[in-house]
């Protein structure tokens, strides 16, 4: 509870300190993607290498709803959430038939398929030009035209989604996911229908990713083809591992650092991924629990001192 309160305060004051509301909004939407990914890897132990699929589906659905149907923003976002969840339930149901690394490869393969569909289906997705001119309608009579206002709107939605994830982690359902992660065979032997839990976890993860995509679509009034590409999927994996998969907070922290670094370093030096790669290797090799694990250790030490 205290951590969540600190998070809310940080999110609330961020625009006063760093004056780039677009960047901060991106931290939040990317953070939600990492948190959704972590629900599968950190809790259930399934590495999904295709999370951008659901981000992209959500972004395209929200964009089409706003462009074609002039839907209210909450409805567009709800559509993104449901579409992301449905896509993930489908991908999940097929991917979990693969054991171990084959399951990972299936999420990867479905992402590649989704990318090519998006690339070809220009009338819906704009192909490699992306979708432009996506409106950002008022919500309950409040204009979100201003970037800071849109930041706060996004913050409200993402914090609610994050609170839901924290709640799910503590739920009986979350406990079953950890049982599957620890020992799938035994989970089955004590009477859990493991397959159903896995598909449900995928659907939840996909719904949150779709929501993130939906929020991103209005940020720059633009959905690039990158929203659904494998680079984005890879970045989600990297950010979550960097932050640490032991906690949803870790995923959020990793996404924040990743977004800030990739934005600032890319201005300084075009080859910034090289530095980032080294940092990433160091974290994976020496700090398995990620940056969040390190901060937790420090705070425990401080508490003992």
């Amino acid at each position: 509870m205290r951590r969540f309160a600190i998070l809310v305060v940080l999110v609330a004051v961020a625009p006063l300190v760093l004056r780039y509301p677009e960047l901060e909004t991106q931290i939040l939407t990317f953070g939600l993607l990492a948190v959704a990914f972590n629900l599968l890897l950190g809790e259930m132990g399934f590495l999904s290498f295709g999370q951008a699929t659901f981000n992209g589906v959500g972004a395209y659905i929200a964009a089409r709803a706003l462009l074609d149907a002039h839907a209210p923003l909450p409805i567009a976002l709800l559509g993104a959430l449901l579409a992301g969840g449905a896509a993930a339930a489908l991908v999940g149901a097929l991917a979990i038939t693969g054991r171990g690394v084959y399951g990972v490869m299936l999420t990867f393969a479905f992402n590649e398929m989704a990318y090519f569909i998006a690339f070809q289906w220009r009338s819906v997705t704009g192909g490699d030009d992306g979708l432009r001119g996506i409106p950002r309608p008022d919500v309950f009579g409040i204009s979100l035209d201003d970037a800071t206002r849109y930041y706060y709107f996004t913050a409200l939605v993402v914090l609610l989604a994050f609170a839901a994830v924290l709640r799910i982690v503590d739920s009986p359902f979350g406990a079953v996911l950890r049982a599957i992660r620890e020992n799938e065979g035994r989970a089955r032997a004590i009477g859990f229908r493991v397959r159903r839990f896995k598909i449900a976890a995928f659907a939840l993860s996909g719904a949150l990713s779709g929501l993130a995509g939906g929020l991103y679509a209005e940020l720059f009034h633009f959905v690039p083809l990158q929203a659904i590409d494998l680079d984005t999927s890879t970045n989600i994996v990297i950010a979550a591992l960097l932050g640490g998969i032991g906690s949803p907070y870790g995923a959020l922290l990793g996404a924040a650092i990743f977004t800030v670094l990739s934005n600032s370093l890319s201005h300084v030096w075009a080859h910034w991924p090289l530095i980032f790669g080294l940092v990433f290797c160091a974290v994976v090799l020496f700090f398995r629990t990620g940056l969040w694990g390190i901060t937790e250790r420090w705070s425990r030490r401080a508490a003992h001192a």
Binding site: A179, G185, I190
Partner: protein, 247 residues
């Protein structure tokens, strides 16, 4: 309570379990013994649904469960423990047992409740841990418990699912004599309340606890009967028992 008819499992040309008829009566402790490679664990995997038989039927109560998977059989009340300790290593002892109890509550898809607030499952986990003398270790990770305690936890998980039939696969395997004794006492108490099928190598244990014994050799049933009858059976002695049991 549990019967099999001509139960067979072939791996290629080899029959690991060959036309086995079993009859487990309610309230008995039925031991399955036999030399290594006799097909005992394969038989168990067939009974619990980890493996599908090549031929034959399995009836539990009055229900044909031959084609049901392990999850369904568990939900019907067939609780199984494993030869190799098979726990959730990075979850606490309490969480291990609580999950097993939770699997009977129907609340496992409740996203909005807190696991800590499932009173029924928590109480069940407490009482099972207490019964196995593991309450003091409740907050420790299962994978960090001592070997004997892990074996007890293994049994506790199975019991927390509230089974009517217990399938115990070599529960004393790998235990020190003291720990084995502790476990034997525990199984003795359980046999008053449950129907138990037990695979076990520890002959003194089998002879003391079992009401009925089935002896397997080369995938087939070699003999069945009371411990006294088995002790006296010449085939059994020739195949297996001579070196373990003094007359």
């Amino acid at each position: 309570m549990l019967h099999t008819r001509s139960l067979t499992k072939r791996f290629g040309a080899h029959s690991a379990v060959d036309a086995v008829d079993l009859e487990i009566r309610p309230g008995t402790l039925h031991a399955i013994i036999g030399p290594n490679g006799a097909g005992k664990t394969t038989l168990f995997n067939l009974l619990s649904g980890e493996l599908q038989p090549s031929a034959g039927t399995i009836v539990f109560g009055d229900r044909d469960v031959t084609r049901l998977d392990a999850t369904s059989r568990s939900q019907l009340g067939m609780g199984r423990s494993f030869q190799r300790t098979n726990v959730f290593p990075k979850l606490t002892a309490f969480e291990n047992v609580r999950l097993a109890a939770q699997s009977r509550t129907g609340d496992s898809f409740a996203l909005w409740r807190r696991a800590a607030s499932l009173d029924g499952a928590n109480a069940r986990a407490e009482s099972v841990l207490a019964e196995f003398g593991l309450l003091d270790s409740r907050a420790r990770l299962a994978g960090e418990l001592a070997g004997g305690d892990q074996r007890l936890l293994e049994l506790a998980i199975t019991l927390a699912t509230d089974p009517v039939l217990l399938l115990l696969d070599e529960p004393s395997q790998g235990l020190s004599p003291q720990d084995a004794q502790r476990l034997i006492d525990r199984i003795g108490t359980l046999s008053a309340r449950y129907t138990i099928v037990l695979i076990e190598h520890n002959m003194p244990l089998v002879m003391r606890l079992a009401g009925e014994i089935t002896v397997m050799n080369f995938g087939r049933v070699l003999a069945r009967g009371t411990p006294d009858a088995i002790r006296a059976n010449a085939d059994v002695r020739a195949a297996y028992l001579g070196k373990h049991v003094s007359p």
